[in-house]
């Protein structure tokens, strides 16, 4: 019995998680990866993808273990009310903070690419207001909107990359596997830290119409992410070469700029901006929802909606407060792996271990419970 009453389908969950992970990844990651690993960036996608699937297995295990409870609820059950509340608060604060960063990144993007004269706060507020509206309407609603918009966005982006193929030069990949292992690991760690954001799934796992499909969700998310990322990174590097890609801030956007259709349709890169706004908006909604729900659960509230609007002001302020300037955003990505791994990875690993220990100690009893739950659901 959680606060959330809505239900979402498997497809909606897959798209929601994929969008959440992908939205910020396509902005900065191609350039950062090219800096570290140059033309070997595809290796990091494979490495991080493998790590992501492993991590996904843990997430799905936890979700399937407690199919009618979200992360905060079962950490309160496992660790006792106070420790569980603390975990819930950390979870909520983490997503609140990260959401601030995401909003800031998107606002910076809009300012630098679309409207240089407009102050950052304006876009910040706009994005937060939209997200607040979505979160207020509920998980079901933004999951549905995402179900339309994410495939459309993915389709159009793939179309852009496909249209740029004639101008790509594949010799850019030529000296393959020349980068050192630490560099590759650094790249993979960066990618993996984005994959970890998929932990958000554990907050709306009980809303799944069929909780037993968790494993399929994690595989589909991994597959979609791998395809999208590989296409993006390979496309960008083949088009610009590793050095140029590393220099550009938003290589995907530059790729879109080179696309022409039949000599008349030019400058359609604004579509990419639209795609990023929609994807970004939905990602912000997911994080917003997760943090608000985590707070509401850990404070024992009966509804999360009352926190949405006040939290929106905090979110908008945080987005301004978190980074002093653009440089700090770029350097933040260095700290990102350590940050997400310690907090998100730490929480899930901790809960996973405790669940395992509990299961061992009480042996058959939990198994029985599990079966009963499966029957009930």
């Amino acid at each position: 019995m959680g606060i959330e009453q809505g239900k979402i389908s498997r497809r909606q969950a897959v798209f929601l998680v994929t969008n959440t992970i992908l939205a910020t990844m396509v902005l900065y990651v191609p350039s950062l990866l090219a800096q570290e690993t140059g033309q070997d960036a595809w290796v990091t996608v494979v490495l991080a993808g493998a790590g992501g699937v492993l991590y996904g297995a843990i997430v799905v295990f936890l979700g399937a273990r407690y199919p009618d409870k979200n992360l905060v609820e079962y950490s309160m059950e496992l660790l006792g009310p106070w420790a569980g509340r603390a975990v819930g608060m950390i979870f909520g604060l983490f997503f609140l903070y990260l959401n601030g960063a995401v909003i800031r990144e998107f606002s910076e993007l809009l300012v630098s690419l679309v409207m240089p004269e407009t102050p950052l706060v304006v876009f910040d507020t706009l994005i937060v207001s939209l997200a607040a509206y979505g979160v207020y309407l509920g998980l079901e609603v933004f999951a549905r909107v995402n179900e339309i918009l994410f495939p459309t966005a993915l389709f159009i982006s793939m179309g852009f990359i496909a249209l740029a193929i004639p101008e790509m030069e594949f010799y850019h990949f030529k000296p393959a596997l020349v980068h050192s292992l630490p560099a590759l690991l650094r790249g993979s760690a960066l990618l993996f830290s984005f994959y970890l954001e998929g932990t958000a799934l554990l907050m709306f796992y009980p809303a799944l119409r069929r909780p037993e499909e968790g494993r399929a969700i994690s595989y589909q998310v991994g597959f979609l992410l791998a395809i999208a990322l590989l296409a993006d990174i390979l496309g960008v590097i083949a088009l610009f070469g590793p050095e140029e890609t590393a220099r550009l801030i938003f290589p995907t956007f530059e790729l879109a700029k080179t696309v022409h259709l039949g000599g008349f349709v030019e400058r359609i890169e604004s579509l990419i901006i639209g795609i990023w706004i929609t994807m970004g908006g939905l990602k912000v909604m997911v994080f917003y929802y997760v943090s608000v729900l985590a707070f509401a659960e850990s404070w024992g509230l009966r509804d999360y909606r009352l926190l949405v609007l006040p939290m929106g002001i905090i979110l908008a302020s945080l987005a301004v407060l978190e980074f002093a300037d653009t440089n700090q955003i770029r350097s933040f990505f260095r700290y990102m792996p350590a940050f997400t791994v310690t907090v998100l990875g730490g929480i899930t690993a901790f809960l996973y271990l405790i669940t395992l220990i509990r299961a061992k100690r009480t042996g058959g009893k939990t198994d029985k419970d599990d079966k009963n739950k499966k029957k009930a659901s």
């Binding site: 909606q12 679309v114 509920g138 609603v141 933004f142 549905r144 604004s270 639209g274």
Partner: protein, 557 residues
């Protein structure tokens, strides 16, 4: 739980009680509950008193029987009854016949039974013993027939009033399809539907709503095809309405829709019986309201508003996709113009940008204001056009479109491009078959326009997303408003983005949760017969006489 016990009444509940105490029937209850008195004079006096000697109340008292010793009174409302059938079926037999036959003589003691069973030759006649019920019947077009000395009254149904004949629906234009439309009389409308659906399982359940108007509201559905839960929900919502009047289905719509505050219509409404019939067969519920030709159809989803009944008669692949395009253009074109000219000139192709800049030269307003002026002007013209007498309306349209636009450009108030944009959106907005949906889309242009003027393309995208979020949050009788698109049911997209041929649409829409999903036998795709009909025996010969047979083939095929 405990808290609830301590404070049993919330402030809102207390308020409701006070209001309920104040809400009363227009007529005092005591009068309506009163039984009919055996005293004829009292009954007649009471009726006259209730109507306050209103001029359309006709009271006729007369005596009949062999010795004219039986006193009766006939009361009806002039204009609501058919006087010819009244006199043929009710008055004539009474006045001309003094006896029924040898054994049964009309006496004051048995007059009522004899009149009821032998003399009044009218098909449907009701027997009433309460003043209130009789009053309702008289107001609905029955005649009241009192006999002195009896505590009952007869009410023959002699309804008959001036009625509009069945005409072509004015609001839904089409090329192919049946041309009959609903009228203002509920019975005519139900008959129009019944004529199309010949099954006894078609049900018309009737309700009366409105303290003053007592409007008949008819819930139509096909038992066995409809989801019973939907019918119950419709009935529950109709029964819970407590208002003084329902003059049009629009009153009802506001009371029964799922979300109170939304610019979108959550119910489909139509004047066409064929559309209602199609909806009933799909497993929907239709609500017909007396005194209006507009029927409501529930549940309705947004994609339906882009479907015209004609799509199903005349197969046209492109119509649906054109309408989706039309929605997009209506919604975004003015705002894209504003966003591009104000903030992102570099995104317009160079040649076009130059001529646009030349066109905007000398225009004293920013693009938003320019667009707002033109859009508002257009909406003013449109509104004026619908309210004006038809003959004037057309002139106004021409004057408005050509003269105003031309003059505005010449005077340098607006650029020629905005005139093109506004004209285009005006045209595309009329591609949306549902009038209410088209109004909604046109209304939503304005917020996006303003967002575009403030934040450029970013504003447009955010505005569209907000609209999408809002639409995804809506429900119509429990069905998600964006239904086959999201939650996505790709199998049903064949009736959303284009219209699949009939033999492909084997199942009723999933959203209605009909207990009987299959619409028709599968695999009915038409194919040419393997052998030409009538040529089976000659198939062998054909090889030999290709030349000769060619002409014959053409004739028979």
């Amino acid at each position: 739980m405990l808290r609830k016990v301590r404070k049993p009444l919330k402030p809102s509940e207390l308020k409701m009680r006070k209001i309920n105490a104040r809400l009363q029937e227009l007529q005092p209850k005591e009068v309506l509950e009163q039984p009919i008195s055996p005293d004829l004079d009292y009954n007649v006096k009471l009726m006259k008193e209730l109507f306050g000697n209103s001029s359309d109340l006709v009271v006729r008292e007369f005596h009949f029987g062999s010795d004219k010793e039986i006193r009766v009174a006939l009361i009806f409302i002039d204009g609501l009854v058919d006087k010819i059938s009244l006199s043929e079926a009710v008055l004539k037999p009474l006045l001309y016949r003094t006896i029924v036959d040898e054994e049964r003589k009309l006496l004051p003691g048995n007059a009522f039974e004899l009149i009821r069973d032998w003399l009044i030759t009218f098909a449907s006649t009701k027997e009433v013993d309460k003043m209130g019920d009789l009053l309702d019947l008289v107001l609905a077009g029955f005649a009241a027939f009192f006999v002195d000395g009896f505590e009952y009254a007869l009410a023959p149904e002699v309804k008959g009033w001036k009625d509009r004949s069945i005409e072509e629906p004015k609001t839904e234009s089409f090329v192919r399809g049946p041309r009959d439309g609903f009228t203002e009389t509920l019975r005519t409308n139900t008959a129009l539907i019944r004529r199309r659906i010949r099954t006894p399982r078609l049900r018309f359940d009737i309700y009366q709503v409105g303290r003053v108007t007592k409007t008949d509201i008819c819930v139509a559905y096909i038992d066995g095809l409809v989801n019973p839960a939907t019918v119950d929900e419709v009935k529950r919502r109709i029964e819970s309405i407590d208002t003084d009047s329902i003059l049009e289905s629009g009153y009802l719509e506001d009371f029964i829709k799922d979300n109170a505050w939304t610019p979108f219509t959550l119910l489909d409404r139509t004047e066409r019986p064929d559309k209602v019939a199609a909806a009933l067969i799909e497993g929907r519920v239709a609500i017909l309201v007396d005194t209006t030709p507009f029927a409501l159809i529930v549940p309705a989803v947004f994609t339906e508003f882009l479907q015209s009944t004609e799509d199903y008669y005349e197969w046209s692949e492109s119509a649906r996709s054109l309408r989706w395009l039309a929605i997009l253009i209506t919604l975004t074109f003015p705002s894209l113009y504003v966003a591009l000219t104000t903030f992102h000139q570099e995104m317009i192709p160079v040649g076009l940008a130059l001529s646009m800049a030349a066109g905007r030269e000398g225009v004293p307003f920013p693009a938003v204001i320019e667009a707002l002026i033109m859009e508002v002007t257009f909406d003013l013209l449109r509104e004026a056009g619908t309210r004006m007498p038809r003959s004037v309306g057309q002139t106004l349209g021409v004057v408005g479109a050509i003269v105003l636009g031309q003059a505005a450009v010449m005077a340098g108030i607006v650029s020629p491009f905005i005139v093109i944009v506004v004209a285009l959106t005006a045209v595309t907005s009329f591609l949306i078959p549902n009038y209410s949906a088209s109004l909604t889309i046109r209304l939503l242009r304005y917020p996006i326009l303003i967002l575009a003027g403030m934040f450029g393309l970013v504003g447009v995208f955010l505005g569209l997303m907000a609209i999408l979020l809002h639409m995804a949050s809506l429900r119509s009788f429990g069905v998600p408003y964006l239904y086959p698109i999201t939650p996505a049911v790709p199998a049903e997209w064949k009736d959303v983005f284009y219209r699949a041929p009939w033999w492909k649409m084997d199942l009723r829409p999933l959203l209605l949760r009909s207990p009987n999903r299959r619409r028709q036998a599968p695999g009915q795709r038409p194919e040419p017969p393997p052998v030409r009909p009538g040529r089976e025996t000659e198939a062998v010969i054909e090889d030999g006489c290709q030349k000769n047979c060619a002409g014959g083939n053409r004739g028979s095929g």
